[in-house]
Amino acid sequence: MPEKILPGIELDNVELRLGARPFRFDCTIAAGAITAITGASGAGKSTLLNLVAGFSTPASGTIRIAGEDVTRSHPSGRPVSIIFQDNNLFAHLDITTNIGLGISPSLRLSRNDKAQIEYALDRVGLHGFGKRMPPELSGGERQRVAFARALVRQRPVLILDEPFAALDPGLRQSMRILLLDLHRETGNTVLLVTHDPEEVRRLADHVIFIEDGKVLVRAEKTEFFQLDIEPLRHFLNDS
């Protein structure tokens, strides 16, 4: 299958300066796999994510997603769905509407679209939640709605920014299983920003370790956990 051979996301000498801090990313993220982006707080995980999602524009370099140059594209023009740690839903809109916005930003929904929304709600285990409002839901349920929206968007890349960090440990495990299920079902490229080694261990195929605004390590998961270098030891022991 040709898609599998294509690199999912490429950052080609991407440079950016925020205040006095320089960032430089040069790496490839495999298509159809889960890649964990990890590193200490402030190392530049979120900056990398913002660059891929389009919330920041690099000063130089090229970003390609599925072979297409998206360096200057608006976030909505990129083949990407994104799930943040929090505030994924518009609090004043009901669950169906929140998911529907993922299909049509102007909320022009066909009968087929509505059926899709129902299916997605079912799929994330929230059957019958359509008319509820986000504040009535628990944190885990709200994240499930965000997954449902990502599902109906059908974009080849899913970016997750610490998606389970605000949840109870017990809930995290079931959310991880949901993520893996959806990933297997859609075969999407997943970029998971996390500072939790446990999450890396359980979810990732590949790991990118960032330090000081640069990619320090890019490896397969098993390889990654066998590495014995100072910043990594620090990361694995501290958490």
Partner: protein
């Protein structure tokens, strides 16, 4: 995060707002400058202008000293007693003068401190031979304290209540005496905000128009703003008005420059969330002192308000409210208030959107950065060139075009809108910023834009703060006498102008009735305009 088109639109809107406001102010200033400058120059240095300049500065200084000086013990007492019955009502009472039209407050003060008023009757009864005069310097000072002591108290109290609750626990476990608590905890907190509070109060007193017009006015007690008005309205001496207007701009420029050095005082943290327990001041003397201080402040504020209500109810309210002249003035006032409120809110949105777009731009050049700074300074422009000066300029600019009263309503609405702009921005900006933080990236990633974004995402959330700002701006315009004073006539009458006219023609019974009606409308609008602010405060 914004598409190039969104950013262009937002910045374009900011440029539009900046251009229109600058033009509006510039035309007024140019009209002043080009009106026979030779003669105005000669009026700059007369004994008369110097006397007025001196009085303006001196009365503002005394007013500030009294307002802030007296606010300190009141704020300390209220902070020391975080939970007595009725406390919340005293704090709310402190917010009333802010929403009350200045003219109405002046009426209430005359009712209490006038020759026949309660205060002087009681002073005479206890054997004071010379009554306090509500007219002249003493009256202006009483009135300025009435309006600014509550403001200063609220700001100082907020700074005390922002102190961590642990401070009081530590102070009591260390066994600090009241004076040590003051020296080591309370005073450092007050000292941080006091310069900003004093600057704000000084600015308000130095540019005070209505109070000085009603309570002062003679050559011995006239401020620059009132003198400008008198030069045009009574003596029709434009060169003198122009000379005074430039003195006024000079004074406000210096003041704004001084104020900008100090941190701006903030009211957040005021009685929000849990209150700290205070362990100091449990002695009888301390309790008695606090009770007396709080009681005097409350009585000082309540009496004029009660006087407005009582004398207002004595008037024939139904006859007044159904009279043709009232209905006409109310209709004029409300339409002016609505237009000025909508303009203020609209311009606030344009300015805030543009600044937010610039701050998000990946690489804002020097041009964009200075645009953003100019937009931030827009609301100060209004403080720099006060309403009477704006009105004077436009008065001179439009006079050649015929009857001034034809343009008067729209001019007054625009001047009012400019006055309301800083307040509207203060209500809307945090709400828009919070909304952007919550939804900006999400909307961008979902491709929400244009009408769909406004309808589904922005409108449902932002309509509340926008209505609050509108309501606040309308209250400001409804109660304003400054802008209308120059243009008011029998053909063009607003409610405050009507009250002032009735007062000037000694039909004070009518004035009282009208004042009560206007006061209630403005207070209601202000309450709507500030509702829910408590909940928005960070530590609520």
């Amino acid at each position: 995060m914004l598409t190039a088109r969104q950013a262009r639109q937002a910045i374009g809107g900011g440029v539009l707002a900046l251009t229109l406001v600058s033009l509006f102010v510039a035309i007024a200033v140019i009209a002043l400058l080009s009106w026979d400058t030779g003669r105005a120059g000669s009026r700059l240095m007369t004994a008369y202008t110097w006397r007025i300049l001196f009085f303006t500065i001196w009365q503002a200084f005394l007013s500030t000293l009294l307002s802030v000086g007296l606010a300190v013990p009141v704020a300390l007492a209220l902070a020391r007693r975080p939970s007595f019955p009725g406390r919340i009502w005293i704090i709310r009472l402190m917010a009333v003068p802010m929403g009350l039209p200045v003219l109405i407050g002046a009426l209430g003060l005359i009712g209490i401190w006038g020759r026949q008023g309660m205060a002087n009757q009681s002073l005479l009864a206890i054997g004071v031979s010379q009554p306090v005069s509500i007219y002249g310097l003493s009256g202006i000072l009483i009135a300025h304290v009435f309006f600014n002591l509550p403001l200063a108290t609220r700001l100082l109290l907020a700074s005390l209540e922002r102190l961590p609750a642990e401070y009081w626990l530590i102070a009591s476990s260390l066994g600090m005496k009241p004076f040590s608590v003051f020296r080591l905890i309370e005073w450092p907190a007050l000292r941080r905000v006091a310069p900003g509070v004093a600057g704000l109060v000084y600015m308000l007193c130095a540019t005070s128009f209505t109070l000085v017009l009603v309570l002062g006015g003679g050559p011995a007690a006239t401020t620059l703003e009132v003198a400008i008005y008198q030069s045009l309205h009574f003596d029709f001496d434009p060169p003198r008005a122009i000379a005074l207007a430039f003195l006024q701009i000079g004074v406000t420029t210096i003041l704004l420059a001084l104020i900008s050095v100090f941190p701006a005082p903030e009211a957040w943290g005021l009685t929000a969330g849990r209150l700290p327990r205070r362990f100091d001041g449990s002695g009888f003397g301390s309790k008695a002192w606090d009770a007396i201080v709080i009681a005097i402040a409350a009585v000082f504020l309540v009496l004029p308000l009660a006087s407005i209500a009582i004398s207002g109810l004595h008037a024939d309210l139904i006859r007044l409210a159904s009279s043709d002249i009232f209905v006409k003035a109310a209709a004029t006032s409300l339409s002016i208030a609505l237009v000025s409120g909508l303009v203020a809110v609209g311009f606030s949105i344009l300015v805030i959107n543009a600044r937010s777009a610039i701050s998000q731009a990946a690489s804002a050049g020097a041009g964009l950065k200075s645009l953003s700074a100019a937009l931030a300074g827009l609301s100060s422009l209004v403080l720099l060139v006060p309403p009477v000066v704006l009105g004077t300029g436009w008065f001179l600019a439009l006079r050649p075009m015929g009857d001034i009263s034809r343009f008067a309503p729209i001019l007054v609405a625009l001047v009012n809108a400019l006055m309301a702009l800083p307040f509207a921005m203060r209500v809307i900006a945090p709400a828009m910023e919070a909304h952007r933080i919550r939804t900006g990236r999400l909307s961008a990633s979902l491709g929400l834009a244009g009408w769909s974004r406004i309808r589904h995402i922005d409108f449902p959330v932002l309509i509340r703060p926008m209505l609050m700002a509108l309501s606040f701006a309308m209250a400001l315009s409804l109660g304003d006498l400054g802008a209308v004073a120059l243009f008011g006539s029998s053909d063009f009458t607003t409610l405050p102008w009507l009250v002032y006219n009735r007062l000037a023609s000694y039909r004070s019974n009518d004035a009282d009735g009208l004042a009560l009606i206007l006061g209630i409308i403005c207070l209601a609008l202000t309450m709507i305009g500030t509702a829910g602010r408590e909940r928005e405060r960070p530590n609520a």
